[in-house]
Symmetry: C2
Subunit: 408 residues, 2 copies
């Protein structure tokens, strides 16, 4: 497809990412589908690294995801590799898909000296077409020979598909006098919904942590970050978040280390928000916050019902303060609601309460608020203490343009 303009919601630029001791990166142009750009990235982790991951729950997930899930539990001290291609998702490619994963893992193992069991793969792009893995394998020698500690920014570019900007984030914290770094990259702009739709995320840290502790933190934080964003309610077959801790800082981190967990939360939330900000066709970034629901689960149901409603999302695109559609989305969600106890806010503006429009509300106030690029929709159910936050974008002509023509 033609080059897309950079999202109006993109950050000013790609951040400076710190070097993470113990991991090196390389990228190459394998020509899997795209021409004239990098489309493969390889990360090689030193001995002693541990890897955790979270994955799509799709029942039709790709061979790559199934393979990563099988390997993720095994603990090994011998190092590891992550190889990712863009342009072809290797999803719904039958036994050929399994064979492609095996072939890539064996080729990486052969060049790096790692066991194939410690090679993790991801593929992203069109579904249902055979992955020409031989094009990837033809580049593995070149990749292993050009590994660099500073290659993470280039890796962020190589994994892009319909993304309009590369996504990165980092944090540094002090752990007992030693500095621990976290740096991550992500891709994804369509097929984004809770349960990690068409999203690939790779996060690296030099913290020293055991695999179960890392996995536990990552699983917790995925729920309130990547599983709390939605662009179009469509969940992909390939979503993968892999996190590697090299231990090179020699700073010990445990599961209840709130400073580390807080920093990791920040990196994950930043990357998740960047994915929404690159939502296909997005012109508005929207936070939906539910309070006062009967339960947290009900709050999440209401939040997603609002965030996924085409009528809410098109109203936002039109800068129309059409709060009636929010009432509609609350009503249809299936979670508990009482029409006469609802309070709806746009930012700090109380729009509706006591079952009707608020007396202090004016359409001008609402229309003026909706012109902002970043919006907050708040709904209090007045029923209990359940809360949830999700993030989404608007639904525009550009979404239709991108997706009615994706394969052409």
């Amino acid at each position: 497809m033609a080059d897309l303009p950079v999202s109006p919601l993109a950050p000013a630029g790609f951040p400076d990412l710190p070097v993470i001791d113990g991991v090196r990166f390389a990228t190459a142009e394998a020509g899997v589908k795209y021409q004239g750009r990098t489309d493969v990235m390889l990360a090689v982790l030193d001995a002693g690294s541990v890897i955790a991951g979270t994955f799509t729950k799709s029942a039709t997930r790709s061979s790559n995801v199934l393979d990563c899930q099988r390997k993720i539990g095994s603990h090994s001290e011998c190092g590891a590799a992550i190889i990712v291609n863009s342009g072809n998702s290797n999803a719904f490619t039958g036994r050929a898909g399994d064979q492609s994963v095996r072939a890539i893992c064996e080729a990486v193992a052969s060049e790096t000296g790692l066991p194939a069991e410690r090679v993790f793969t991801s593929s992203t792009g069109v579904i249902g077409e055979r992955l020409p893995h031989e094009r990837i394998n033809a580049k593995i020698a070149e990749l292993t020979q050009t590994l660099s500690e500073t290659g993470l920014a280039d890796a962020a570019k190589a994994i892009m598909t319909t993304d309009t900007f590369a996504k990165g984030s980092s944090a540094a914290i002090d752990v007992n006098g030693r500095t621990v770094h976290i740096a991550g990259i992500a891709k994804g702009s369509g097929m984004i919904a809770p349960d990690m739709a068409t999203m690939l995320v790779y996060i690296f840290t030099d913290a020293k942590i055991n695999q179960p502790d890392l996995q536990s933190m990552l699983s917790d934080l995925t729920e309130v970050t990547f599983n709390s964003i939605t662009v179009d309610s469509d969940t992909s077959t390939s979503d993968t978040l892999l996190m590697a801790a090299t231990g090179a800082s020699n700073a010990d981190v445990v599961v209840d280390s709130s400073a580390f967990k807080g920093a990791l939360h920040g990196v994950m939330l930043d990357l998740a928000h960047q994915v929404v900000r690159d939502g296909e066709g997005a012109t508005k970034f929207v936070e939906v916050e539910i309070t006062g629901a009967a339960t947290d689960a009900d709050a999440r149901t209401h939040a997603l019902s609002i965030a996924n409603s085409p009528l809410v999302k098109t109203a936002i695109a039109g800068e129309d303060p059409n709060w009636g559609r929010i009432v509609m989305a609350i009503g249809k969600s299936g979670a508990a609601a009482d029409r006469d106890l609802l309070t709806i806010r746009f930012g700090d503006i109380v729009v509706a309460e006591n079952g009707w429009v608020a007396q202090s509300y004016t359409e001008d106030d609402g229309a003026s608020y909706m012109k902002q690029q970043d919006l907050k929709i708040g709904v209090d159910l007045g029923l209990g203490t359940g809360t949830a936050k999700v993030w989404t974008c608007d639904l525009t002509h550009q979404y239709i343009t991108i997706n009615a023509d994706y394969r052409s």
Copy 2:
């Protein structure tokens, strides 16, 4: 909003509807919101009529719906009236909404001599703005004085909002030598999803049937007709289906009368399909049929996941045979699926089977099929005997145009 072009999927014309003995209709220009067109319809039913209904399950449903639900169970032989306005839904209008319903019912009761308990109201249009019911009440004398047996076609026009064509359907069957007629009208083109989004349907018959039998048939048939269509997954706060049987034919119909139920099913399915064919911005009419699911409920979950997927709907708009997105929608639905047992068909063309594209399938065949206006997507899960059918339309630029600008 500006006049919309008639949907390319519209029927050739409005059907000739039979006179239903025992019911008369009138329409008027009340200026609730629209100018220069009719926006109120009144139907008055003779003594002996029974009324059944099905309604939105929204937790924030309108005062009108709540009032109809309360009244529907009461059995009375004294006749009844149905009054409907377009332009304002009277939903989320607090206590003022309840007062409007009461005021309209009392005005109709006063002019017709019916008890207010036998007056049923519906309102459709924008949410959250006070219904100027005094404009409706100012027309009730005129309406009662112009009632006509042949006014059903005009009534279909008066209840339209963003509809681009009026919707009607009818059937006639022989019951023990007597002819029984069924005639119905519907409106609705956005906010359409199972649980009867922004849809109003009124069906009349001269059959003689008791209220519980009529209600039982209507509830059954709603599930496989109006609750099996979706335009945008958004459910309205006002959906109402009312059916009245006048008994004027003196032909007795009971709940297990398969001929009558079959004819009613036909009328309801025709009207439901017309609603989809008027889906906002629709250019394709799509039947999704699931077979081989573990259960009927699973089949329905898969069918709706496909029918509501923005990525599937935009691919259809682009005439792109992107069956990978169907695999995605099956995978994300949450219902049971086995990647390697799926079979996907476009019409009679087998597209994918055994976990991959079918050997006999060519992209040209798929692309050629997708150019048709009426499409069938078939998925066999290979797991059991569960089946479901739902109907939907594509997602186009015109949907965005209509909905990003609805209130302006």
